[in-house]
Amino acid sequence: MIEFFIYKAILVVAIFAITLFVAAYSTYAERKVAAFLQDRVGPDRAGPFGMFQPLADGLKFMMKEEIIPDFANKFLFILGPSIAMMTALMAGVVIPWGNSLVIDGKEYFLQIADLNVGILYVFAVVSIGVYGIMIGGWASNNKFSLLGAIRASAQMISYEIAMGLSIIALIITTGTLSLREISMLQTGGVGGHWNFWNVVYQPVGFIIFLICAFAETNRTPFDLPECETELVGGYHTEYSSMKLALYLFAEYINMFISSAVISTLYFGGFNFPFMNDLGLDHNTITIVGSLFFFAKITFFIFFFMWIRWTIPRFRYDQLMNLGWKALIPLAVINIFITGLVIIIKTHYLN
């Protein structure tokens, strides 16, 4: 029993540390990617290639004056960024970061909790994340903050529907809600026996999910909650110092988690091509698989940034039109066609 707790504790601490590390370096990567895409150099003063820039940023945030406005509701004002940060960190619990390691005949899974409703858990936690923004924006007692918060919640609620519907089609094909089982079903891939990643079976679902992931994480082109040109800073207008840092940080953690979820659901998770044909032992495959998983996540984080520095922000009515009139019907049609294909396959082709 004590062994179990130690194993879980190590896993929790490791994933917590990795999440924070990746989020910190995402801020650096964001600035570097932005710079490279615009023919600039980006931060390069702090350490070699500016590698210590996140530390410098963090230090700066801590040294800044902390302002809580007189007219703000103090308790909720502090609660807002706390919720945003906490929920962002919580979503990493159910993601399978790798297959299992066998040490002394015992199997240790590289996943904190293998819930049989893993996807639903992610959705639930992400939905609570909206409260962080909503409460923070409302507690600031500022028109711009409130407008940003309203936009954020309206946008998230709209896009969560399409996201959920796109997932239903995936669940029809996989038949499970557990993220580990979904990963295991995609094992092998290209190689000895052909077994494609889910993106091959669900391309439309993948595109819908990807678009919704952009909206859920408040990233460009759907970053209307914090659009500077209209709302000063949106929901975090009144925030300063570490509280602002928590909000910004939560966005990067969300991006990391979304990338992990996209990789798990549609791009094979910790599986990689030819994994069963190279004659490697189980532990090596697990470690290489985890590295592949992180490579996939890195690609998707890059993709988030790539999009951000390519296309401008949508107008609010365009955002709502896209969500309600395009993505939701498309997701429903996708479910219908997927169901039809599955029925035809199981009943008529066997």
């Binding site: 710079a35 615009q38 999009i307 296309i311």
Partner: protein
């Protein structure tokens, strides 16, 4: 109206077609453009390490010249201050006393001479107005500072040190050299 270039496009407000309405082809086109820029050389000049090539007649930080013997050329005539469009130059004149002949070239000199570098627009009119060839703009870039006070340059920063003369030959244009050939102005040499 005739267009100046052939690149202007007439804006037509037409209904978007299907492919335009789903945005995805346009977005794909956009990300292809941006990814090309990822591999392009950056156009940044990392300033303190690499310096950009500057023009021959670059007008940078001023210098108050000394003559060959090391005496200050400025006689505090005030023509530079009058010429200055930004009113950046102020000076106080003083009379040379016995024993200071090595320090000041003529009987009158500037006891204080200040240029407010935050006002200065580096137009070079002071240099043009100077009848004594005392003030020149050089190719030195003005150093930065955190406070405003440091930008009022006094004689300590403006007058060239005796042992490290500032080369202003590029600023001595044809007109300046021509001026020197006139016999009646020979006292200025």
């Amino acid at each position: 109206m005739q267009a100046l270039t052939n690149r202007s496009k007439v804006v037509v407000k037409k209904q978007m077609n299907f492919w335009e309405r789903i945005y995805l082809p346009a977005i794909l086109g956009g990300i292809v453009i941006t990814i090309k820029h990822l591999f392009r050389k950056s156009s940044t000049v990392k300033y303190p390490e690499t310096k950009r090539e500057i023009s021959q007649i670059w007008r940078g930080q001023h210098v108050l010249k000394r003559d060959d013997q090391g005496a200050e050329r400025c006689t505090a005539c005030g023509l530079c201050a009058v010429a200055c469009p930004a009113e950046a130059i102020t000076m106080v004149a003083a009379e040379r006393v016995k024993g200071e002949e090595k320090l000041y070239r003529e009987e009158k000199y500037a006891s204080t001479y200040e240029i407010n570098m935050l006002r200065c627009i580096f137009c070079g009119l002071c240099e043009e107005a100077c009848p004594k060839e005392a003030i020149f703009l050089t190719d030195r870039i003005l150093p930065t500072d955190y406070g405003r006070g440091e930008f009022v340059f006094g004689k300590d920063k403006l007058v060239e040190p005796v042992d490290e003369r500032v080369d202003v030959t590029v600023r001595q244009t044809a007109a300046v050299l021509e001026f020197k050939t006139h016999k009646q102005y020979s006292h200025n040499k």
